[in-house]
């Protein structure tokens, strides 16, 4: 990256960005060494919301950890539900009824849309546009209402069960979801793209800013929209298919520009793809039970198990070690945001403070998921 000025490493000052700062969306702290408004060195400091979730998994039966999963990534909680259910089902050898699989996909994708809408709102807030936040929340509210109807909660869902889901969906949910698909599709071009995406100020702010090469993505293990914005065609739903995703037809949006705009466009396109997935899943939805017969206390055979799902922020891995007891011996999560944040320090070097914060917004950080 070419700089308009030469950074002088001898005349710097340290700026503490966070843990209480409007742009860090939570309690991330970044220690910035600055030369004027240019960043000489950026060092993310983690651990302000560490709650020992992984340790908590070891002290309670398998089923009791399910609510914890939603407290990590509160924006795409259902994907965390799904990931944990998948790994335990793999360990205990539980077959999931097909209807339940479809319901899982529908709810996870709805939740993905809600997550992307909130990212969009928060990103625009980082760039100083307050109004888009309210428009996005208006749409998100519809998703949350739909999910509330069947899961019983609005943010931290505990909807998945081993071998199925907690509650069957009803006709009202199906018609409501179809209405929402129509609504978002009609609002997307006029509101989201005309008002924001094609706005010259926005384009100037995020185009060619925050360059992450594919090489850097691989080095730091970045996944999700961050990697797909750098031209890496990797989506767990396509590359390591799980659930009923192979039966549904959808594209994985990939952009080669590697800048913040590319990541922005990936997420905007992903919302449309999620709508397509939901539409097909609703059409194909089979009849039948939504919950398999599962013993009250699970005791999976001793061994190592792994499953991955695609959350709104990237690939989420659950690694489960069982010793044959009723509690997990060890549960390790590989959360996408941690890897995505790790590259912040390297990329932000030499950036202006304002650009670095726009770049940080484009990474879509959810801090409780990093700290767990």
């Amino acid at each position: 990256m070419t700089l308009p000025v030469e950074l002088r490493h001898d005349e710097t000052f340290v700026l503490n960005l966070g843990p209480q700062h409007p742009a860090t969306h939570g309690v991330l702290r970044v220690k910035l060494t600055m030369d004027g408004e240019y960043i000489v060195k950026a060092e993310p400091v983690l651990g302000y919301v560490h709650r020992m979730h992984e340790k908590l998994a070891e002290v309670a039966p398998y089923a009791q950890f399910m609510p914890n999963t939603a407290r990590m990534d509160y924006l795409h909680a259902l994907a965390f539900n799904h990931g944990y259910a998948l790994v335990v089902e793999k360990a205990a050898g539980i077959e999931v009824p097909e209807r339940a699989e479809y319901i899982r996909v529908i709810t996870v994708e709805l939740n993905r849309i809600a997550s992307h809408l909130l990212w969009w709102a928060a990103f625009l807030l980082d760039l100083g546009g307050f109004t888009p936040l309210l428009y996005a929340f208006d749409d998100r509210e519809h998703v949350i209402d739909l999910l509330e109807r069947i899961t019983g909660s609005r943010l931290t869902y505990c909807y998945m069960r081993f071998g199925g889901v907690y509650n069957d969906i009803d006709d009202e949910f199906i018609t409501g979801t179809r209405d929402f698909i129509k609504r978002l599709r009609s609002r997307m071009p006029s509101l989201y793209h005309d008002l924001v995406t094609h706005n010259i100020i926005l384009i100037k702010r995020i185009k060619d800013i925050g360059f992450i090469s594919a090489e850097q993505c691989r080095k730091y293990g970045a996944t999700g929209p961050v990697a797909r914005g750098s031209g890496i065609d990797y989506d767990v739903r396509k590359n390591e298919p799980f659930s009923v995703y192979p039966e549904l037809d959808f594209d994985v949006p990939v952009y080669d520009e590697c800048d913040s705009m590319a990541r922005y466009m990936v997420r905007m396109d992903e919302m449309e793809q999620s709508l397509r997935i939901i539409e097909q899943a609703l059409d194909k939805l089979p009849d039948g039970p939504v919950q398999a017969k599962v013993p009250k206390i699970l005791k999976p055979e001793a061994g190592y198990y792994y499953s991955a799902v695609e959350t709104a922020r990237g690939s989420l891995g659950h690694r489960l070690v069982s010793d044959g007891g009723k509690n997990p011996y060890k549960l390790k999560l590989r959360s996408p945001t941690f890897s995505n944040l790790s590259l912040f320090g390297e990329v932000a070097e030499g950036m202006l403070l304002a650009d670095a914060l726009a770049f940080m917004g484009s990474l879509d950080l959810v801090i409780p998921e990093i700290d767990r």
């Binding site: 700062h21 408004e37 625009l124 100083g128 546009g129 309210l134 706005n199 100020i201």
Partner: protein, 330 residues
């Protein structure tokens, strides 16, 4: 009107009241306007349609303790908000609200307003500097470079207007534009060759947005980057004065734009000139400022400076040269 002791007192009270009312109620207008744009309702609880909200906010701010943090430069820290307020109110003295409502019709009133506008920048600089907060210092450094960059094209466009009107007196400039919208400086149809003056108007409007620190140029208080910028360490009425000074600067900017380009108190159809037209015009402009703020995201400090040095200054220079040439030729 016969000159007596009552005249200055009347104007003093009138201008203070106008300034105070605007400073308080523009906050309310902004909140209501933002709410409408965002499909909300805005303040509704205190008084009818939330009309007493500014009063309640004022009482709250005044009754709060004025906290002076450790390590700040105490005197400058206390004085800065006052300095933010004074130039804005003082500028009102020379603004011709109508043919007979004006505090003082000074010969150099244009110059005076610009001199005072620069003072409010000093308030931002002092406030940020005295706070001893890194965010505040970055913010004041931004504010100063931004104000310097935008004062140049602003003054250059005003020079073109001064050349056309042949006066630096705001009252004379306004009188020169009487008699319907085709006489206004922005259109100037009557002697045909100043048809391009709307370019000057656009430059002036953009500059006044930047001068008053309004979005999309609100670099100095970019809350997602600099928390609250130079106001970070201010609470209670210190913060209140900064806010009021900011709104007053918007009012002064709108008054200046109306006087220089939109015919002052002139009626667009040349029928009933009066103060109501002046007020209508400034509030339309202020609404536009609010509208812009709640529609666009913020730009970035270097793009902002580039816009000024690379686009606005060359354009306004050409504007001055062409105007001078046309005056000489015709």
């Amino acid at each position: 009107m016969e000159t007596s002791i009552w005249r200055p007192i009347l104007y003093l009270v009138g201008i203070m009241a106008f300034a105070g009312l605007n400073a308080a109620y523009l906050g309310w207008c902004e909140r209501k306007g933002a709410a409408r744009i965002q499909r909300r309702v805005g303040p509704t609880e205190v008084g009818f349609a939330g009309l007493l909200q500014p009063l309640a906010d004022g009482i709250k701010l005044m009754s709060k303790q004025l906290i002076v943090p450790q390590g700040v430069d105490g005197i400058i820290f206390r004085v800065a908000p006052v300095i933010a307020m004074i130039p804005a109110i003082t500028s009102m003295v020379v603004i011709p609200f109508s043919g007979d409502i004006q505090g003082r019709a000074m010969e150099l009133s244009v110059l005076l307003i610009f001199a005072l506008a620069s003072l409010s920048m000093i308030a931002v600089l002092l406030g940020g500097w005295a706070s001893g907060n890194k965010y505040a210092i970055i913010s004041s450094a931004r504010a100063v470079s931004q104000n310097l960059a935008y004062e140049i094209p602003m003054l250059l466009t005003v020079i073109a207007i001064v050349m056309i009107s042949g006066s630096m007196n705001l009252r004379d400039i306004a009188i020169d534009q009487q008699g319907g919208f085709w006489h206004w400086n922005i259109f100037r149809f009557e002697n045909g060759h100043f048809l391009y003056m709307w370019i000057g108007f656009i430059i002036f409007f953009i500059c006044s947005l930047a001068e008053t620190n309004r979005a999309p140029f609100d670099m100095a208080e970019a809350e997602s980057e600099l928390v609250a910028g130079y106001m970070t360490e201010y609470g209670s009425m210190g913060f209140g004065l900064f806010m009021m000074g900011e709104y007053l600067n918007i009012v002064v900017g709108a008054c200046l734009t109306v006087t220089l380009f939109l015919g002052g108190w002139d009626c667009p159809f040349g029928k009933t000139p009066g103060v109501w037209w002046f007020l209508l015009k400034i509030y339309v402009l202020i609404f536009t400022v609010i509208w812009v703020r709640w529609t666009y995201p913020r730009t970035q400090i270097y793009r902002l400076l580039n816009l000024s040095w690379k686009i606005l200054i060359p354009f306004s220079l050409v504007n001055v040269l062409v105007t001078a040439a046309l005056i000489k030729v015709f």
